[in-house]
Assembly symmetry: C2
């Protein structure tokens, strides 16, 4: 018996990029074809693809599909209703393809966080002018439907906070560091050997990937144009094995968080390692898992946790967007038309407030603590607690010992002064390493 939907006009799909996500999308569309057609109300049909190397073995049969050596061909292919951009990168062919497809009045689905974080505002305007969808569920947190949750599920509420663990590679490295006591460099090397980290890991470990995703979440949560340039970005290279150990001793875990918060002054957006109390739900999100925490005035606190990357999870997000398009749903890319987005200003990092962890190595001499605490006093920063372990037995009188300081809430600017002054003290041998403390 033919499927009851087989007589309906299919949604014809052109896919640019046949890497991990592109291959996963083809496989998902094939494996669940009947289920997807039932939910979309019509069949989905991949008609054309584009990738760099036609000959590369992918374990996929693409012989029935029209092949475009140039991805731009998909924007004009008469057998393509919707373009799926899985090339990546904020410029070059990915950007050109998306711009051209929208200008031709074709809806676009993309998993490209860099493109959306950097050019998402102008692309959304182009989609609006064309009256078609620009969909990017797969750009943030892979299989977790967080874009839909923010743009539609929480559309009635005014959010005060959004963020979380948005990069599985960093979370895996930090989890491994805690569980094994090894250094960042050693764990990174192993992660690269296992394929959990790229050969050039900087997009992940320097926080850029997290910042792309945070910029997108913040724009949706606060209804303002996406603004990647305002995100303060620090990665995890500076987190030492000693920091992980001290954090555990103090009742915290170290996580790379993306945090966006609406305050009286505007919107803070920042990415940096954080000490999070062990009891906070986000502290227990370990390994490659991602988690997004949203807090709204009416809805309270929500946490969404799941796999943030990988072929399967990301493909489910790509195809969910395709199903929305097949159903004829059309929601503005940023949850409201471009002209009606808010003009909330960005708060610079120096104006943020919080409490802080500082670790430094000092010479083990009388008066050292007095010198350091005098710096805090002079900068107007109040000390909450201090941790100092005795030096190893048999160590010389002038050898160094680690000290950890935890401050009460203060301004970032004051802390930056503290860090600079402490680093300049003669008695300080190394550091300080500064890590911000977040409630989670």
């Amino acid at each position: 018996m033919p499927h009851p939907l087989s007589g309906l006009a299919p949604l014809r799909i052109g896919i640019a990029g046949l890497g991990t996500v592109g291959g996963g999308t083809l496989r998902l569309l094939q494996a669940n074809a009947e289920l997807i057609a039932t939910r979309a109300g019509r069949p989905m049909l991949v008609t054309a693809v584009s990738a760099r190397d036609r000959q590369r073995a992918r374990g996929l049969d693409v012989s029935d599909l029209r092949w475009h050596d140039d991805p731009m061909g998909l924007a004009d292919d008469p057998d393509v209703d919707v373009v799926v951009e899985l090339i990546g990168g904020s410029e070059g062919p990915a950007r050109r393809l998306v711009e051209t497809a929208l200008s031709r009045g074709r809806p676009v689905v993309t998993a490209n966080k860099a493109l959306i974080a950097v050019h998402g505002a102008s692309l959304a305007s182009a989609a609006e002018r064309a009256g078609v969808a620009l969909a990017f569920e797969a750009a943030v947190a892979g299989g977790i439907p967080v874009i839909k949750a923010l743009r539609e599920g929480l559309a009635a509420d005014r959010l005060v906070r959004i963020g979380g663990i948005l990069n599985g590679t960093c979370n895996y490295i930090l989890t491994q560091m805690r569980e094994t006591g090894r250094s960042f460099a050693a764990v990174l090397e192993e992660a690269q050997a296992l394929g959990y980290a790229e050969a050039d890991p900087s997009t992940d470990v320097d926080g850029i990937d997290t910042a792309h995703k945070l910029a997108i979440l913040a724009a949706l949560a606060f209804g303002r144009p996406v603004d990647f340039d305002s995100v303060h970005v620090e990665g995890i290279r500076g987190v030492g094995a000693a920091d992980i150990a001290f954090a555990t001793e103090l009742g915290y875990r170290i996580k790379l968080l993306g945090i966006a918060r609406r305050t009286g002054e505007g919107v803070e957006t920042r990415v940096h390692p954080c000490l999070v109390p062990h009891s906070a739900p986000i502290a227990r999100v370990e390994g490659v898992f991602n988690a997004v925490v949203a807090e709204g005035e009416f809805v309270g606190r929500l946490m969404l946790e799941g796999r943030g990357a990988g072929a399967g999870p990301t493909a489910t997000a790509v195809v969910a967007d395709l199903i929305d398009i097949a159903r004829g749903s059309l929601v503005p890319a940023w949850g409201a038309s471009s002209g009606s987005l808010s003009t909330l200003t960005s708060v610079p990092m120096s104006a943020c407030r919080g409490s802080y962890y500082l670790r430094l190595e000092v010479r083990d001499r009388p008066g050292v603590i007095a010198e350091i605490t005098a710096v805090l006093r002079d900068c107007g920063v109040s000390l909450k607690s201090m941790l100092q372990h005795g030096q190893a037995a048999g160590a010389g009188p002038d050898e160094s010992v680690p000290i950890v300081l935890v401050t009460h809430e203060t301004r970032e600017q004051a802390m930056q002064e503290v860090v600079q002054c402490i680093a300049g003290l003669d008695v300080v041998v190394a550091g300080p390493t500064m890590i911000r403390i977040e409630a989670g």
Copy 2:
């Protein structure tokens, strides 16, 4: 300056029921009117309301709204575009209002889990015939947008499991029992005094509310007609303070879970207390919080956690549905048209498999353990571990002692035989209490 959307035709809303959720919905629509209009693309306007007692003080000004003593008036009110049903109950005025509104071609938004669990299949057909939306995001897990996540966000994947902590009252009671060591009855009484539990708590503590929600989740997750009657339901009245203490000792927490699982034989749907390993994410969801765990073949495991009840969170779900309607989105109530839902059969409880916790009081005599373990052997159930604490000092030779047994995986039917046989043994003074063990 007038709001740019103020010239557009508003979506005119009629609300039936002005209790906690109805009042919260009115307040949210008022507090966030501009934000909601921006996201909906047009203003939202409540034009008419209905409730039992017009004179009751609600802290709401409804003097400008058309008042209907009979909620059915909303279905015919010419100034109402969409009916919001917040009366509750699977029969009576709620059912009549929803049926009538749909038959008049008016979209309906409801928070009524009982109505959707029991009559959701026929109501969805009626909505389809009329070509209008039947939306019920607020019926499950309050502020967590789980209906949208399942129906749209995960639409491309084949789910294997859905469920979680769906009733905040039960989770609050179990959390309090664990934290204070008190009995179910004592904690329930306090919860009633604090307003966390109803005067007649049976819908909550007997698992019925969880079963309504689970039936809805299972229908969406597995794409089959909602089937409340097939849900196996047990509540938490039988959970003793001793069970909570033993569970902690064994590394578990006790949670009331709704669980739906697709197996080779069909779909299991069951609500009962569970021992969940302390390390499972769902074990740490405490107090009034809800959490939904979904597992799909491509997406892996997802968990969504947040406030499952209360005026604010539930109102955000009601208004999110209204925004979808204002935007013109129209997704079938169960994610696919009624005619294309699957025919997966329901698996009876007796055919489910799992491992089990048994607690019983036995006379402290030689040979008791042999008698009990013989029952397990005869029923083909394999013992995994046993916990027996010595009796209190000074206790007589014939006084009772508690024993806890944990089994390997077995069939529910075999366990029911074990329970019956053990309960009939002369040496058994009380019990056994049987609690199922879930991975979480």
